[in-house]
Amino acid sequence: MTAVNTEGAAATAAAPDPDEAQRAIEYCYEQGWSDGLPLVPVSKPLLDAFLATTGKDPDEIIGALEQVGRDVNVRTAAINAAMAGCKPEYFPVVLAAFEALMRERAARGGGFQSTSGPSPLIVVNGPVRKELGFNTAGGAFGPGFRPNATIPRAVGLIVRNAFGIHPHVLEQATQGLPGRWQVCIAENEEESPWEPFAENGGVTGGVSAVSATLTRTMEFVDNRHTPNHEDVLRDIEDTVNRMGSLIFPQTSVALVLCPEHAQMFAAAGLSKADVQNWMINKCGHTGREFKLAGKENVPRKPDGTFATDEEFHRILSAPQQVPVIVAGAKNAAISMVVRIFGEWSGSSVPVGEKK
C-alpha cells in the first residue's frame, strides 16, 4: 500500500532511490550509448536474467557487419535489449527479430549506413503475442505497449553500440524517417481472414515466429465508404505507385491491411495472393511518366534497355515483393502502404525456447 505524504511523494519501504537512478541514467548518456532517450542501466544480475531465457551460448556470434569489422554476440545483444527497456522474457523475440533482420541483404550490406536511413519493420506471430502482452489491436504502429516499443529499440541499440553505427559518422541518413527503431507489429491473427504472416515466411503450425525487413517510410490509405472491394484495391494501388519512392527497376511494398479491408477482400473471395497479383499486374508507369520525373534510367528491362515512352513498366513482379500483413483495430477502414528498403528475405524465424 502506497502512502502519500504532505509533499506529494510516494513513500514505501521498497521505493528505489530516484537520485541514484538519475545518476545511472546520466552515466549511460555520457558513455554515448543512448539513442536520445533514457536507457535502463544494466547490471550483471539483470544481464543474467536475460541470458537465462535462451539456450544460446552468451559468446555465440549472432550477426556481423564485415565492412566495419564489428560483430555482436548473445551477451552484448542482451545488454542492449535490457538497456532498451525489454523484460528478460522478451529476449528470445529480440534474438529472432535480429536474426530475421540480418537475413536481409540490405541489412548485412550498407543499409544501416545508408543516406536512406531505413528502419526495421518487425512482425510477430503466434502465442508469444499474448504471452508477452504485445498489442495486437488498435494503434499497431505504436506507441503504448512495452514489448512492441522496446524490442525494435533493442535492435537499434545493437546497431548503434555493437556495430558502432552512429549518426553523422558511419550512419549518414539524410532525413531518416519517423518511427525509426520503433515499429514492431503483432499481427491481428484473431481478426485476419488469412493465414498468419509467418506462414508466408515458411514457419507453419502456428508456432511463435518473427519476420523483419527494412523500410523507408509508410503512407496510409483511408477508404471507409465504398462497398466495392475493387475501389479499395485501386486506391491502394495508387499509393503503391508513388513515383517518388522509385529508384530501381523493381520495388517492394508491404501492405499492412486493417482487419476491415482484409475481411472485405476475403468476403469477395480474394486470398493474399489475389491482392498481391492485383498490385503486380497494375502497378507501374510508362517510360514517359518516368522521364517526366527525371527517372528515365529507372525502368530498366532485363535486357538492359529502358522502357520507351509508350511502354508500361511494372514495378512489382513477385508476391515476395508485396508481403501482406493484417494489423490494427476493426474500427475503421485504414490500411498502410509500407515502402520496403531492398527486398524482404521471405523467411521468418521461430522464437527459440530455452533448452
Binding site: W33, E66, V72, S114, L157, A162, G164, L170
Partner: protein, 188 residues
C-alpha cells in the same frame, strides 16, 4: 560494493581493434604505369573515372583497365583485391557519394594500400566524416583521399568532365612522391 553498469558496445570481446594498416610506397612517377579504375556504379561514377583515365593516358602514357565494383555498399572481396593488386601499379576508385559507398571506397583503399598498391579514392565532400571513420576502423586513421563537391550524380556530361579535370592533380599527388595532402580538411 554496488554492481557495475555494463558496457553495451562489446568492443572488449570482438575484433574491432585492428592493427595499423601499412600504406603502400608511392611511385616516383606515373609514366607508363598501369592504372586500375575501380568504378562503384553510382550515377556518373563511370563517366567521371573514364575521363580521369583518359586524361592520365594523355598526360602520362598510362595503361588503363576498368573494373566495376561488385557491390558499391561494401568493400571488395579478397579475390578481387588480389586481382587488382596483381594487375595494376596504382588504383583510382569512386565516386563515394553515399553513406555506405563512401565508407566502402576508403575501406577498399586501405586494404589495397596494405597489399602494396597506392590508391586514390574519390569521395564527395558531404561524406568526409564517414570516410574518415571507416579508415580509422580499418587501422588507417588520417587516411588520405581526394574530394570533389557534392553532388556528382546530377551533373551533366560536360560538368562531370570538368570535375574530373579539377581533381586530377589531387589524384596524382596521392599516388606519387612526394605525397601531399589534397584533403581540404586538416590532418588532425
Amino acid at each position: 560494493m554496488p554492481n557495475a553498469i555494463l558496457d553495451p558496445t562489446g568492443t572488449v570481446t570482438n575484433s574491432a581493434a585492428k592493427p595499423a594498416a601499412p600504406r603502400a610506397p608511392r611511385l616516383a612517377s606515373l609514366d607508363g604505369k598501369r592504372v586500375g579504375l575501380l568504378i562503384n556504379t553510382k550515377q556518373n561514377a563511370r563517366p567521371f573515372l573514364d575521363e580521369v583515365g583518359r586524361l592520365l593516358e594523355d598526360r602520362y602514357g598510362v595503361t588503363v583497365t576498368k573494373r566495376t565494383k561488385l557491390n558499391f555498399a561494401v568493400p571488395e572481396p579478397e579475390n578481387v583485391i588480389k586481382e587488382l593488386v596483381a594487375e595494376n601499379d596504382v588504383i583510382i576508385t569512386g565516386v563515394g557519394d553515399c553513406g555506405s559507398c563512401s565508407a566502402a571506397a576508403t575501406a577498399d583503399g586501405v586494404v589495397l594500400e596494405a597489399a602494396g598498391v597506392p590508391v586514390a579514392a574519390i569521395i564527395t565532400d558531404s561524406f568526409i566524416p564517414t570516410a574518415d571513420a571507416m579508415a580509422a576502423l580499418r587501422g588507417a586513421p588520417g587516411y588520405k583521399y581526394a574530394t570533389t563537391a557534392h553532388p556528382v550524380a546530377v551533373l551533366t556530361e560536360d560538368k562531370v568532365k570538368e570535375r574530373a579535370a579539377q581533381v586530377l592533380d589531387d589524384l596524382v599527388a596521392l599516388l606519387v612522391e612526394p605525397a601531399t595532402a589534397p584533403n581540404t580538411k586538416d590532418e588532425a
